[in-house]
Amino acid sequence: MSFEMGRRNLDKKYREYHQARWDEPIIFDLSQKGERGILLPEAEPEVAAAGLPELGSMARENPPKLPEMSQMRVLRHYMHLSQENIGADETVDIGQGTCTMKYSPKINDRLAGLPDFADVHPRQDESTVQGSLEIMYRTEQMLKAISGMDRFCLHPGGGSQAILAIATVVREWVDSQGLSDEKDEIITTIFSHPSNPACAALKGFKLITIYPGPDGRPDPDAMRAAVSSRTAALFITNPEDVGIYNSSIKEFTKLVHDAGGLCSYDQANANALLGITRAREADFDLCFFNIHKTFSSPHGCGGPGSGVVGVREHLVRFLPAPLVGFDEAAGRYYLDYDSPSKTVRLKDFYGVLPAIIRGCAWMLSLGPDWLREVSRVAVLNNNYMFKKITAMRGVDAPYAEGEFRMEQVRYSLRKLKEETGIGAAEFINRMFDYGMHLWSSHEPWIVPEPFTVEPTESYSKAELDEYLSVLERVIGECYETPEVVRQAPHKSAIHHVDHDILDDPERWAITWRAYQRKYKGYFEPR
């Protein structure tokens, strides 16, 4: 297992990687009094002669203690930080399962940034924003085809806000029928994203959580027991985070409909299903997609994203206004304030345009057949990984033995932990020493010592093999040189972080200001 630094061993598929390590100071330590990063246009003398308003006690007394830096100094600082970060562009980013880390085409970034899109004010006259409205309208039409829903609201800024929108629609729908006291429960599953229960609770519903049966699918008996006249809605994902398709989904939606409830399909990750199966045929009333997942808009370190909500006709009137309409006779797009709710709003203005433009361009560059191929290849790639990973020592994938998986798999390092003492938390740190990211999984860890791999359609077989060889190598190290794994990362910009202080109110510091109040030097308490 020894390696020679500085030489690529062509027999090995993994790389001798090392992240940039700039030992970059906190930006305030780069400040030099008097330096400027940019100059603004001065007011002309005639304008300046108008004078300043009398601010009285509302005038700022002390200038903000922002750093004073020349432009290039600022830029270099952030360049260093960017090099101490790893994007999907830089690695085989398949270890963040459930998040669909696919290629975000560069052309779409350029298109989203066109000044004619970027520098448009949301309150301009409709005649001057026909381009933006057209993109939104076309996006909606394609999403309708993909889901079978009747109308989309593009407002939410991410998947969780889309779930909030859905919980809000359910709340409005329940209230509108005067059933607020009777219909007060929402059913979800433990393998659905945590924002499903969180947003349902926020909108005043009680939660019932369904756990998986032995085959990894939500337990139908538990589901039958959960549904009642109190059921306002079902919030469910399919396939869930474990990557197993719930073949009984239509029975689930029927149970809820028979009890007078609504059914919402969390399609944040829909990468297995484009052109394969739709929310409509499974009788869902609502669904949402993440444009920054399935539809390729980049994740931006955690947003801006876009979560678009589709509903069937009977729920359009509960959506936040405005939607986008098209007047065929006049050939004009418009903001439609009439069809949706007059009172419900979730977000300023109309949606995250830079993400929507990218998603629209991505769909248009694929069309119906290639979109379907996206899902077919994502599933092919996943089953290839599934076959190879489950053959590795110490790893298994619980549930549904002998069945294929959809676009992702939740694996378990339970056996590895038993045999070597190394679990998921330590394992993933060592992966990065080879330039690869691996994520454990959403809590709670129903699957012990979990990790989730979602290869998407974006990676070649050779890249998947490279990832596999890193996994295999780290597993080997767990058995042979466990200390190397425990002390990882070795090749990152930084070493082991002491997380304890982040949970201690006396010691945590969320800003540099707080740090300076609590500490001097390097974490010496004041």
């Binding site: 903000p64 057209e134 980049p298 419900v344 069309g367």
Partner: protein, 470 residues
């Protein structure tokens, strides 16, 4: 299942669409065809026809051309003189902001650990820290979706801390912002409006006092307000709130804070707002990020639903970072969490950090001063036009309401548009009490010629005859 994609070519975004590669992979898996993987989907759920959507634009060149054509149907603010504001503002975006948020290491990253994504953690910690200096508060969140969401969360935080279920907000606040707050607080928390004083358009202190009692969780106000007005009674409002055990929650536009006192200096317990002015393009209202700030007390920190990145030591004496009090989030607690958290606006936080570092203290002061000089000049020149009146006696920042005697704003704006000018946001639908009013907004880039073009066009329009009376 439907047919294979046309031809044997592979798609540039799908390397393994190459048929011979697929065959090899299937063989290793032990499957006959890709269709095998989908057998778990019942027949009645399968889509057996192609999606009804346009055929692909196969070449990148054609795609670019198509989108450039579509974009050209917009008339951006770069091509006119725009006086639009009202919650989204046309400020100068330094080139460094676009440069950094376009770096693929940031743009395409997501959720790596503090080791892999050290740069993201540090950049967002520094964003929090620079906002903290602007606000003179010790805790700032990783940005949420937008300012309206930040306001909603700030009010829910206040409700949880006080255990009370009612908040007071100004009747003349941003109309859509009020809808977002009301929607977000429903069904647990009631939103009650407080009147505004007629001439100043600031909060009516008598009405506020009459509505304040031990059931109120928070008093929310904007400063500068949606209508641009600077609220002079910040301290009195906060004191009044505190006197009944309620919290003071203040919306502040960060672009004003180089010259205006930050909310913490007049008693705000929680500050919130939108970071769009800090180096983020407008994108038709799609470029937004919400900040929330407070003191560093545990009772506040534990109520944030957002990510909070803190600084921590490493085994080798480096600056390390990580999530503060992770267990409060919905990632850890699901339905028992403080609200919810998910992908929101991190890249805009990094961008706003670049902006604040680039501007520095002098830049932020120049920004505020430059804006106020221009709004003083423009309001003075506009008030000289017969029939045009500035609708507030209060000092204002960046924008101000204007009324037009006997003229509908819609008609005026139409006439202005024909002259290459976007007139102020029409306030009459949302604020009928103001009459034929529009919100006029300046920025730091406006020249005297820009503003004179408006006043001369307006003079002409106001002199115009017929067809425009309301």
């Amino acid at each position: 299942m439907a047919t294979e994609p046309r031809g044997a070519q592979s798609h540039p975004y799908i390397p393994n669409s190459e048929p011979s590669v697929q065959r090899g992979m299937l063989q290793e898996i032990g499957a006959d065809s890709i269709d095998d993987f989908f057998e778990c989907i019942p027949n009645d759920l399968r889509l057996n026809a192609p999606l009804r959507m346009p055929e692909p634009i196969c070449s990148e060149a054609a795609l670019k051309r198509r989108f450039e054509d579509t974009a050209s149907k917009n008339r951006s603010v770069n091509k006119v003189i725009s006086f639009l504001g009202g919650g989204c503002w046309h400020h100068y975006v330094p080139a460094s902001c676009d440069e950094i948020n376009g770096r693929s290491e940031f743009l395409t990253a997501y959720a790596g650990d503090p080791y892999e994504d050290h740069g993201r953690f540090q950049a967002l910690f520094e964003y929090e820290s620079m906002m903290a200096e602007l606000l003179e508060m010790d805790v700032v969140n990783v940005p949420t979706y937008d300012g309206a969401q930040a306001a909603g969360t700030a009010l829910r935080m206040a409700s949880r801390i006080t255990g009370r279920k009612k908040v007071l907000v100004p009747e003349l606040m941003g109309a859509d912002r009020l809808k977002v707050i009301s929607t977000y607080l429903h069904p647990q928390i009631d939103v009650v409006t407080v009147k505004s004083a007629r001439r100043t358009l600031t909060l009516d202190m008598d009405d506020l006092r009459s509505k304040l009692d031990g059931s109120v969780a928070a008093v929310f106000f904007e400063n500068p307000a949606f209508l641009g007005v600077i609220e002079p009674n910040g301290e009195k409002i906060s004191d009044a709130a505190h006197s009944v055990g309620a919290m003071s929650v203040v919306w502040a536009d960060p672009s004003s804070l180089g010259v205006l006192k930050p909310p913490s200096k007049y008693g705000a317990d929680i500050a919130c707002g939108d970071i769009q002015p800090l180096g983020i393009h407008m994108y038709f209202g799609g470029g937004r990020g919400g900040y929330i700030a407070s003191s560093d007390e545990e009772r506040f920190v534990m109520e944030y639903p957002s990510r909070l990145f803190g600084i921590a030591p490493t085994s080798h004496g480096e600056w390390g970072f990580g999530d503060v009090a992770w267990e409060r989030t919905s990632f850890a607690k699901r339905e028992s969490a403080k609200e919810f958290v998910g992908t929101s606006a991190a890249l805009w936080g990094i961008t706003a950090g670049v902006y604040l570092a680039t501007m520095g203290p002098q830049g932020m002061a120049d920004l505020g001063t430059g804006i106020m000089l221009r709004s003083s000049y423009l309001s003075r020149e506009m008030s000289k036009i017969p029939g045009v009146e500035i609708a507030t006696g209060s000092p204002f920042f960046k924008e101000f309401p204007v009324t037009f005697e006997g003229r509908r704003v819609k008609e005026i704006n139409k006439a202005l548009m024909e002259r290459g000018i976007y007139g102020g946001h029409d306030l009459s639908p949302d604020y009928p009490s103001l009459g034929n009013a529009a919100l006029y907004c300046v920025n730091e880039m406006m020249t005297r010629a820009d503003m004179d073009a408006l006043t001369s066009a307006l003079s002409e329009i106001m002199r115009g005859q017929g067809g425009m009376c309301s």
